[in-house]
């Protein structure tokens, strides 16, 4: 509606960043009035217009709500109860009153130092084990919009699973990162991959540097460079390793890495392996980043006070657990002002954002040359595997000689490379069809629709309005298991995550919207979320996610009953 370019800055405090566009502002104000009497509902912090709003070409709307106080208290209580029961059951197991199914150390090695710590065991035994049927669900079809699950049952509370031999057909797949719907077993991509398999086989059995540099790899890299709009690029066999094996080639001792606090494990590992100093800034918080930059340059390296050799800012395009989009225009402005280098991990954003699917740079309408290292993966939008790094020719030349992956790891499998080539060409429209454009449009429409729908229903969801990763907050540990199971009962596959993947009180369910989803599927998912017309008395007609309340008393009762009754699933 409004054409003014707005972006509201962060409140200075902690994680309660609220970025809102003008349109939402009025609604929020009313909201805060309503809620002033209730502690259940988050209260928006005061907002100041950001000095950087001119950097954005369109409204940048992103919300993270502080956990409602009561919810937080209940969540901690939930963990408390689980811990008490955990100790109680450990006690029973110790005295052989309850049978313990966990694998034991060999008799001959009982006197060795224990292989892992007891607390890790405690968490696994008593919390994770109770609800682990929500993860590692085996599937037996294409991970497309609908997926077939292998049915499994457990007779001993998840210690072991048995496959019944049956298949749970047509589960709506809200879990796979299939943003553009290229997870397909038929069509142009699949047939090209079939041909490549015929021609090349699946393995390579050598490294890029020695004798595993196939023509198809070269073709892929030229295409990736063209797609990204950079001079040159290099592809690697695993997305995780792209980060962890290339950052050490770029920085070392005497360098500083400024890393977002929510960066992926692979970036953290890469930074650690590099031997550089690592400092962490608050998630997507530009003030925090700027402060670190200023202090770092002014003070130099710790103790010696020598100037830093170089400073590398490491951010992601879309954060996979938060659904937030990096504030790239501001990051680039900072990076230029302070002469730092920028490493952008587009694992989730490449293909999923921007009018041309070229990721977060495209989304903001920026110049890819402003990003020094463009990294991304092929696993998600392209329905393949592996990762890439793009950038200036000097950078890629250097990586070709110094990347750990290029020298020591087997090159990418040819059919996988082919899948990327075909899907990327479709996205670019080089196959002569509008299929790619249609999918990009579809994804963006689906995202907006689904997010709006959940928001209208009053669920607390995180992240940017344009991000296809949609986390729906559950908070309580008991809800993690309950939500995942109840959804599966209704033939919907979702991802639920809790500690340690999220902060301890911010357990959530995550939906990944895909271009392959139809309106009906998204309707089903959101409606099921709202009302659960199940025979289960526990959740009859009840909301599974945590909703903002208008009437605090009813909400209070709801929270209390729901969180405690869900606990029976866990203790």
């Amino acid at each position: 509606m409004s054409k003014s370019y707005t972006s509201f800055s962060t409140s200075p405090v902690g994680k309660t960043l609220i970025f809102l566009s003008l349109q939402n502002q009025s609604s929020l104000k009313t909201h805060s009035k309503e809620s002033s009497s209730s502690c259940l509902v988050f209260v928006p912090q005061s907002q100041n217009a950001a000095p950087n709003s001119s950097l954005y070409k369109k409204p940048f709307s992103e919300s993270f709500e502080e956990t409602p106080l009561l919810v937080a208290v209940l969540t901690y209580m939930g963990y408390g109860i689980l811990t008490i029961f955990g100790y109680f059951r450990d006690f029973l197991r110790h005295w052989n009153i309850e049978k313990c199914h966990i694998a034991h150390e060999r008799e001959q090695q009982k006197d060795f130092v224990p292989l892992y710590q007891d607390f890790e065991n405690f968490y696994t035994r008593n919390l994770y084990m109770r609800i682990r049927d929500n993860w590692n669900r085996p599937i037996c079809s294409v991970p497309g919009a609908k997926v077939d699950l292998v049915e499994r049952v457990t007779h001993n509370y998840n210690w072991t699973f048995e496959h019944t031999g049956k298949v749970v057909k047509d589960v709506i797949n809200m879990g796979s990162y299939n943003y553009l719907g290229f997870a397909e077993n038929a069509g142009a991509c699949a047939s090209a991959a079939i041909e490549t398999t015929h021609a090349y086989g699946v393995g390579v059995a050598s490294t890029r540097c020695e004798i595993g540099n196939l023509d198809i790899h070269e073709e892929l890299e030229q295409l990736v460079a063209r797609f990204l709009g950079v001079e040159s690029s290099m592809a690697f066999g695993m997305g995780f390793a792209t980060n962890s094996m290339n950052i050490p080639a770029l920085t070392g001792k005497g360098c500083l890495i400024l890393s977002d606090e929510l960066n992926h494990a692979s970036l953290v590992l890469g930074a650690r392996l590099s031997g550089s100093t690592i400092r962490v800034f608050k998630h997507n918080n530009m003030q925090s980043l700027e402060k670190l930059l200023r202090d770092a340059i002014a003070h130099g390296q710790p103790r010696t006070h020598r100037p830093w050799k170089k400073i590398l800012i490491v951010v992601e395009g879309i954060y996979s657990m938060e659904g937030s989009i990096v504030r790239l225009p501001e990051v680039i402005a900072l990076k230029k002002r302070y002469k730092a280098y920028l490493y952008l991990d587009e694992a989730h954003s490449i293909g999923a954002l921007g009018p041309n699917g070229r990721g977060v740079v495209d989304y903001f309408g920026l110049d890819p040359k402003d990003v020094d290292i463009m990294m991304g993966t092929f696993t998600k939008s392209f329905g393949a595997a592996g990762g890439y790094i793009g950038g200036r020719k000097e950078l890629i030349d250097y990586l070709r000689c110094h990347s750990h992956s290029a020298l020591y790891a087997t090159s990418m499998s040819p059919p996988v490379a082919q899948q990327i080539i075909s899907s990327m060409k479709i996205i670019m429209g080089e196959d002569g069809s509008t299929l790619g454009k249609d999918r990009l449009r579809q994804l963006s429409e689906n995202t907006t629709y689904f997010r709006r729908k959940l928001r209208e229903m009053g669920f607390i969801i995180y992240g940017n309005d344009d991000s296809p990763v949609v986390p729906l907050m559950l908070y309580m540990p008991a809800k993690i298991g309950a939500f995942g199971r109840e959804m599966l009962k209704r033939n919907i596959g979702t991802v639920v995550v809790g500690f340690p993947a999220t902060p301890i009180i911010e357990s959530r369910a995550r939906f990944c919207v895909s271009a392959a989803h139809t309106r009906e599927m998204l309707d089903t998912v959101s409606l099921v979320n709202l009302q659960t017309p199940s025979s289960d008395p526990l959740h009859d007609g009840r909301v599974m996610g945590v909703r903002r309340s208008r009437r605090s008393v009813s909400q209070l009762i709801f929270y209390l009953t729901d969180s405690f009754m869900c606990l029976h699933l866990c203790v």
Binding site: W135, S141, A183, G239, S266, A385
Partner: protein
């Protein structure tokens, strides 16, 4: 007790009343003085004077010039210009437009272009598509993965196996899943790069022992034992590991496994064994170095190998007892946080395993070929063959180094080029010289596969001889 305390209190109050006024005033002043010292004193704070003003900060920021992101690479860097392979890298390989016999890819069993493997991969592709679009935890576990895991466990006769989507990441993730800060790892100096990265990620204490030198290892273990006796409380929580390779990729020789197992029980150290080169190669059934030596596989805590060499697919696996392996499902970083292996590659690996199970003869063929090549490559003037006779990936090093690594490499490269011109594909072994803990000497890699015929071997050897006589006089 309580009564006694009460009495003291009463006494104190009484003393307060009885004390002279000047005494109370003095004490009052003293108390005030302490309060002042605590809360109102302007102590000398040296860092205040060092604090930079905003202006000074601005100047410093203005002044700072970072190094370039990457140093320039010279145009003739040996690793910059890759050889381009057109078509499949199988027994006959087209390098830079020239068809050669392949003596360089780790395709030991020739399964890379096996039609059976391809067919299974294609069937899987037609069912599942290519990618998995998710990590194992989040709908990225396919029934094929579970099948491959149980097949690997069965093949190796272990309780459990876990697969990774990248060979390099396998041992590099497995080590830090168990060994943490403060733990101690004893490693062979010749350990490959992915082991080194795993060690680095674990942040444990690393103790290197001389390559295959059990006395040196025992010396370190004894030292540690003494250390442990001094501080038994710390020793009770310090995990100790020995990390070795079955067949070393860098030296092409085999680890003395029986001796290692003896040391394991003597000093209570766990053994992690990297078998990328020996899995599907050594032993009567290709089970690797444990079978080769007849060591009980349960005595090895963890075996890891990749499926990119003998199996000719992509990815890697770890196997061992459930007690050990299951832990990785939540703490193996490369397992938890990475997309799972494309199902077609898993299907290819399953079929490769079937072939290996059905026809164990293939391993004795490979062994024969290996010793044949090993024999034929002896005594080339100027070149020294490194490795055991049953190793399928041998190294040819210079007998006399010129003293300069890059000119040595240049020399070896010209031998390789000479062979390439004569349709024999070889490669120089590549290392990151600055990153390797102990850089192996420059060498030419010679890989033996079951597909090579007597003529192929003869031709390759005569090419190398010829090249050596030209370049190494």
């Amino acid at each position: 007790m309580a009564a006694g305390q009460q009495w003291v209190l009463v006494e104190m109050v009484q003393a307060f009343y009885e004390a002279p006024a000047y005494h109370l005033i003095l004490e009052g002043i003293l108390i005030l003085w302490i309060v002042r010292l605590l809360f109102f004193s302007k102590t000398y704070k040296p860092h205040e004077t060092y604090k930079l003003t905003e202006k000074e900060k601005e100047d410093l920021i203005e002044e700072w010039q970072p190094e370039p992101l990457v140093p320039p690479v010279s145009k003739d860097h040996p690793s910059l210009n890759y050889d381009v392979v057109t078509g499949p890298p199988s027994h006959k390989i087209i390098i830079n437009g020239k068809e050669c016999t392949n003596f360089a890819s780790f395709n030991f069993l020739g399964l890379l272009d096996s039609d059976r493997v391809k067919d299974k991969a294609l069937a899987s592709l037609k069912k599942y598509g290519v990618g998995t679009c998710g990590p194992r935890g989040f709908y990225g576990t396919f029934d094929v993965h579970l099948e491959l895991e149980s097949r690997l466990a069965k093949f190796m006769r272990t309780e459990e196996a876990i697969i990774y989507s990248y060979g390099f990441a396998t041992i590099a993730s497995a080590i830090p899943a168990y060994s943490k800060r403060g733990d101690i790892i004893f490693v062979d100096e010749a350990a490959c790069f992915s082991i080194q990265k795993g060690l680095q990620a674990s942040r444990s204490f690393i103790k290197y022992f001389k390559h295959n030198d059990m006395e040196d290892l025992e010396r370190l273990l004894k030292e540690q034992e003494l250390e442990d006796q001094k501080n038994p409380r710390k020793a009770r929580v310090t995990r100790k590991f020995i990390v070795v390779e079955g067949l070393y990729i860098n030296t092409a020789d085999v680890c003395p496994l029986p001796e290692l197992v003896r040391l394991k029980y003597k000093y209570k150290v766990r053994i992690f064994l990297e078998e990328s080169m020996s899995f599907g190669v050594l032993g009567e059934h290709g089970k690797g170095v444990t079978e080769h030596f007849g060591v009980n596989i349960d005595d090895i805590d963890l075996i890891s190998a990749n499926m990119e060499n003998a199996v000719a697919s992509i990815g890697g696996f770890c196997c061992g007892r459930s007690f050990v392996i299951d832990h990785q499902r939540l703490s193996g970083q490369g397992y938890c946080f990475s997309a799972s292996l494309p199902p077609m590659l898993a299907a290819a690996a399953i079929e490769a395993l079937s072939i290996m199970e059905e026809d164990p003869e293939i391993f004795s063929v490979l062994k024969r070929r290996c010793s044949q090549v090993h024999q034929a490559l002896q005594g080339i003037p100027g070149l020294k063959l490194v490795g055991v006779p049953f190793s399928p990936a041998l190294h040819l090093q210079l007998e006399r180094s010129s003293g300069c690594r890059s000119s040595d490499l240049q020399l070896l490269r010209s031998i390789v080029d000479h062979c390439l011109d004569r349709h024999v594909a070889l490669t120089v072994a590549r290392y990151l010289e600055k990153e390797e803990r102990f850089v192996p000497p420059p060498s030419i890699r010679v890989v033996v596969t079951v597909e090579q015929t007597d003529e192929d071997i003869q031709k390759a050897v005569s090419c190398i001889r010829e090249a050596a006589s030209i370049f190494l006089r």
